[in-house]
């Protein structure tokens, strides 16, 4: 792995921000995840520290106040050089079911028209792409996905909706994503994911980690209804594929 030029800065009384070059780049993301795994395993007690990775940054948040910031910064620099002494984290490709039925896909015809392609093309492009999870934030379980094909780039709606349903799958600019809960939103809705990405009742409330991959696959309305029931009683099995590093 190549060594990036990382910058380390204090961020308030409780946190340190580590930044990589300002780019959306899979190799950078991988390096961030590697450093995070190393710190978690060897250096920072998870009872005391939280680590939030996103795009080109890793924020280390201490429950307590960081007293000796200069000393900590020096240690981080040394630790970065050691990051490859821990095993790479397993990366998974999660296959998520989406119903593109017109009941849910309230903007899909409009999107197809704007893009000058058919509704079938929109679905085919959306389901053939493999997306990278660059961050999780904004709402519990909301994934920032990278890797949208240029052909699907469509501006966000000029008027945001007051209410977008839970599970709605949207397109906006270079982004696609799933609304993990009902919320206001301005994305173009092209379908609905039948299974909850985030569920506080599960032992692991959000199975996806930053750095994982996502692929959507189309399901019928009947399959959607079945998944909903399976999800509610907690027997839905998520499809995942372990990716070779």
């Amino acid at each position: 792995m190549k060594d990036y030029k990382i910058s380390i800065r204090s961020f308030g009384e409780h946190a340190v921000l580590v930044e990589w070059p300002n780019e959306v780049d899979e190799a950078i993301l991988e390096d961030i995840i590697q450093f995070k795994s190393y710190l978690k395993k060897n250096r920072l007690d998870p009872e005391e520290w939280e680590m939030v990775p996103a795009y080109n940054s890793l924020t280390l948040i201490d429950k307590n106040r960081i007293i000796d910031y200069q000393g900590f910064k020096k240690e981080l620099k040394t630790w970065y050089k050691d990051r490859e002494t821990v095993k790479k984290r397993d990366v998974f490709l999660w296959r998520l079911p989406v119903c593109y039925d017109s009941d849910f896909a309230i903007d899909i015809e409009d999107v197809a028209k704007k893009l000058g392609i058919t509704v079938e093309n929109v679905i085919a492009l959306h389901t053939s792409s493999i997306f990278t999870v660059y961050g999780i934030g904004f709402l519990p379980g909301f994934m920032y996905l990278g890797g949208l094909p240029k052909e699907l780039e469509v501006p966000r709606r000029s008027e945001p909706r007051q209410k977008v349903d839970k599970g709605s799958v949207g397109l906006a600019g270079k982004q696609t994503g799933i609304y993990p809960q009902e919320s206001p939103g301005g994305w173009n809705i092209i379908g609905n994911c039948s299974v909850p990405i985030f569920d506080a009742e599960r032992e692991e409330p959000c199975f996806v980690d930053v750095g994982d991959k996502i692929q959507f696959y189309p399901i019928t309305r009947a399959e959607y209804d079945l998944h909903k029931i399976q999800g509610e009683v907690g027997i839905y099995q998520f499809e995942k594929v372990k990716l070779d590093a």
């Binding site: 800065r9 204090s10 961020f11 308030g12 009384e13 409780h14 946190a15 921000l17 930044e19 300002n22 959306v24 998870p46 939280e50 680590m51 939030v52 990775p53 996103a54 795009y55 080109n56 940054s57 924020t59 948040i61 429950k63 106040r65 660059y134 961050g135 999780i136 934030g137 904004f138 709402l139 519990p140 379980g141 909301f142 920032y144 993990p180 809960q181 985030f198 506080a200 409330p205 959000c206 980690d209 930053v210």
Partner: protein, 279 residues
């Protein structure tokens, strides 16, 4: 049980917060004015993380079904226990059948009610702090029953503490945020010379302000935010994220509030003025 006869404007159960899930987008939540509650729990000899009621602007009316000991802290309300006035930062004995009524808000914005042993509500992802949809309910409604353990006899080592609230303070001590260096001279001057008044948009997620500073067109990749992060929107509006604030954001993080400044801001309401000071 503690029976909620009237709920007040926005009453929630809070402890110190939900740690360990920010990388999954879960806000840390927890008590907005933490220092005052720490004192209340010390008086009751509770564990530090004992859950309390956070009371906002208009307080509740509560019926105690079991005996216990309580301490109120934070914002000052006119409060009565069976029509007898009660004061903050002092241990009070409560008998089964007693009614605690919150009246007029006198000073500050958020009050706290701590009781012996803390509230025994369900722990979700390591915390009792209410935040929808992590907890099934985001706030407490009328007729809710809140569990706590009976305590008939308690001899507090200390029965009263001097108030440690910052209700009169208006200066928020800050450190430089990650994008501080983007600010130009005019923005710096506006930020540190002007004062800012709380706009209508303020809650446990964040505070907005009526006054703007110069706009900008910087763009940045989404990155982590925390309670106390001061974001600058392209139109020059300031947003200070609070305990239920989102865990990541795409607006430049120009300042970061110190812990004490979060407590000070937590007691401000619409129209109140604050200013920033680097330190």
């Amino acid at each position: 049980m503690l029976k909620v006869l009237k709920s007040g404007l926005y009453t929630t159960l809070q402890d110190e917060g939900r740690f360990g899930y920010r990388d999954k987008g879960v806000p840390v939540s927890g008590i907005m004015d933490l220092d005052v509650v720490r004192n209340a729990n010390i008086l009751l000899e509770n564990e530090t993380n004992a859950a309390v009621l956070e009371i906002t602007m208009t307080g509740p009316t509560l019926l105690f079904e079991k005996a216990t000991y309580i301490v109120m802290a934070g914002a000052e309300f006119s409060v009565t226990l069976n029509n007898e006035p009660l004061s903050n930062n002092k241990v009070h004995k409560v008998k089964a059948g007693d009614i605690l009524s919150y009246g007029k808000l006198l000073k500050g914005f958020r009050g706290y009610l701590a009781l012996k042993g803390g509230f025994q509500s369900k722990v979700v992802l390591g915390s009792r702090s209410q935040y929808f949809p992590i907890t099934k309910k985001g706030f407490i409604k009328e007729n809710t029953e809140l569990p706590y353990e009976e305590c008939l006899d308690f001899e507090p080592k200390i029965s009263e503490l001097k108030s440690n609230s910052f209700l009169d303070e208006t200066v928020l001590m800050v450190s430089k945020g990650p994008e501080f260096k983007l600010l130009d001279d005019m923005q710096l001057e506006q930020l540190f010379i002007n004062s800012f008044t709380v706009a209508k948009e303020y809650n446990r997620m964040g505070y907005q302000f009526n006054e703007k500073i110069k706009e900008h067109d910087w763009s940045m990749l989404t990155s982590a935010t925390m309670p106390g992060t001061v974001q600058l929107t392209p139109s020059g509006k300031l947003i200070i994220l609070m305990k239920d604030g989102q865990t990541t954001g795409g607006y430049p993080r120009i300042l970061q509030l110190k812990d004490k400044a979060i407590s000070i801001l937590a007691q401000k309401k619409f129209g109140d003025a604050i200013s920033f000071k680097l330190g």
